[in-house]
């Protein structure tokens, strides 16, 4: 049950990144960082408590969305899901992320929710998270001691747990530029459009002629974190992808996922549809 009233906390409103990092170096693990607040405030209305909440809203220069063919895409800590949906460059070059943004929540939530907040929430149902895992990329973390980059493959350690240290702010997400034959896609299954995914999937394929050179497949809601599907990826690499090959994934994926029963679906249902969702996502990426 959620409460009407938020619990008490002290609100930190740094005016620039340096001040924010100083505050974190002092108060570290007592701080809940807030970007759009669509997760943090809902959790606080339930049972989550934190002595300090630090809003990033007053820090300028964090809402950028820059694309360049040589360097790829840079997504700032305050860049919203709506900005992703409205971006022609994302639609063209990072189709999976764009599709995740268009299917994500509702217009009001998209106007507030950030992509980086979605990654930092470390929920296995995160839609942008699933697309970002398939696309590959790095999260830039900054503290008073400097910056470091963590590959998205190493970013989620467990349910609601990331590689971020308590004194760090995630300042940017970087996605590599796509190659000539790169295509990507994102799909999800939900009960109603507004609900979180029962299951989501994303694929990025680099295809040369008809041959798949590399494959990154990601699935959510089948384990404690959004995860890659390495065995399924291995089946695609070096081959021309056709219906017969795709059909073989239905069995292989069963050994890569460990879904649970929850209010959105049963584990049995998730197992039954995982292969279907994956095949459709791959076909969609091939058509991109």
């Amino acid at each position: 049950m959620s409460s009407r009233v938020l619990p008490d906390f002290e609100l930190l409103m740094p005016k620039d990144l340096g001040e924010g990092l100083q505050l974190l170096s002092r108060h570290g693990s007592d701080v809940a960082i807030m970007a759009g607040g669509t997760d943090v405030l809902v959790m606080m209305k339930a049972n989550y408590r934190s002595p300090y909440v630090m809003s990033l809203a007053g820090i300028g220069g964090l809402d950028h969305l820059d694309w360049a063919p040589e360097t790829g895409l840079r997504v700032g800590a305050l860049t919203t899901v709506d900005q992703i949906e409205q971006s022609g460059a994302v639609k063209q070059h990072y189709r999976a992320l764009w599709q995740a943004a268009t299917l994500f929540a509702t217009p009001q939530i998209r106007n507030s929710a950030t992509v980086i907040g979605n990654l930092l929430r470390a929920s296995p149902a995160g839609d942008c998270s699933c697309a970002v895992l398939a696309l590959g990329g790095t999260v830039v973390l900054e503290s008073v001691d400097g910056r470091r980059e963590v590959a998205i493959d190493d970013f989620w350690l467990d349910y609601n747990l990331t590689a971020r240290r308590p004194d760090e702010i995630a300042v940017e997400l970087r996605l590599p530029p796509p190659g000539k034959g790169t295509g990507s896609a994102f799909r999800r299954l939900t009960r109603t459009h507004e609900d979180l995914a029962k299951l989501n999937a994303s694929a990025r394929l680099d295809v040369d002629g008809k041959i798949c050179r590399t494959a990154r497949l990601a699935m959510g809601c089948v384990g404690p974190t959004t995860q890659r599907l390495p065995k399924c990826e291995a089946i695609l690499v070096g081959k021309a992808i056709d219906e017969a090959l795709l059909k073989t994934l239905d069995d292989v994926i069963q050994s890569e996922i460990a879904p649970i029963d929850d209010k959105r679906s049963t584990a049995e249902y998730r197992r039954a549809v995982a292969g279907v969702l994956l095949r459709r996502t791959i076909s969609q990426a091939l058509a991109d």
Binding site: L6, P7, L11, P107
Partner: protein, 163 residues
């Protein structure tokens, strides 16, 4: 708890008020400022009853927005749409098409419609339904709300042609 003073421009009027760190924009509008047109539905971002516009056109959820983080920003509520005693075309359209039954979702629906039409002045049925996601109505079954949005688009086109 520590309070801080913030200034909001609500419906064009600059208002200064003391807020606690944990007050949402919705609470400040309703309780501090007495502007009860914006409704509390679910409190967790699902229903859209608390929708207000940020900077004139961007629908956001006032129940999931901290008031203190909105210092200096421009907010529009349903009561800020009418001009000189004349209903806004979106409000008029909801009246004309009977897009209102119990009325509780209406302020949110109206604000959302302004947001939809700001981005898509001439939306298809599909675009209207996609745009209305996040605003729940338990009475109408949505058909009349969709026709209200369509009617609003016509009225606004007429209005800008006349100007």
């Amino acid at each position: 708890m520590k309070k801080c003073e913030i200034t909001l421009t609500v419906n064009g009027e600059q208002l200064t008020t003391m807020v606690a760190a944990n007050q949402t924009l919705l609470e400040v509008l309703r309780e501090n400022l007495g502007m009860t047109e914006t409704k509390y539905g679910c409190g967790t971002g699902e229903c859209g009853a608390c929708t207000v516009l940020l900077d004139g056109t961007k629908p956001i959820l006032s129940c999931l927005t901290l008031a203190a983080a909105m210092d200096g920003r421009h907010i529009t509520t349903a009561a800020g749409l009418a001009r000189d005693g004349q209903l806004h075309p979106v409000q008029q359209a909801f009246v004309d098409e009977s897009g209102i039954q119990c009325g509780f979702c209406t302020p949110g629906m109206v604000m959302k419609t302004v947001g939809i039409l700001a981005r898509t002045p001439n939306p298809s049925d599909e675009e209207i339904r996609h745009g209305l996601e996040g605003n729940i109505c338990r009475c109408t079954g949505y058909a009349k709300i969709v026709s209200s949005v369509k009617r609003a688009a016509e009225l606004m086109a007429d209005q800008s042609a006349a100007e």
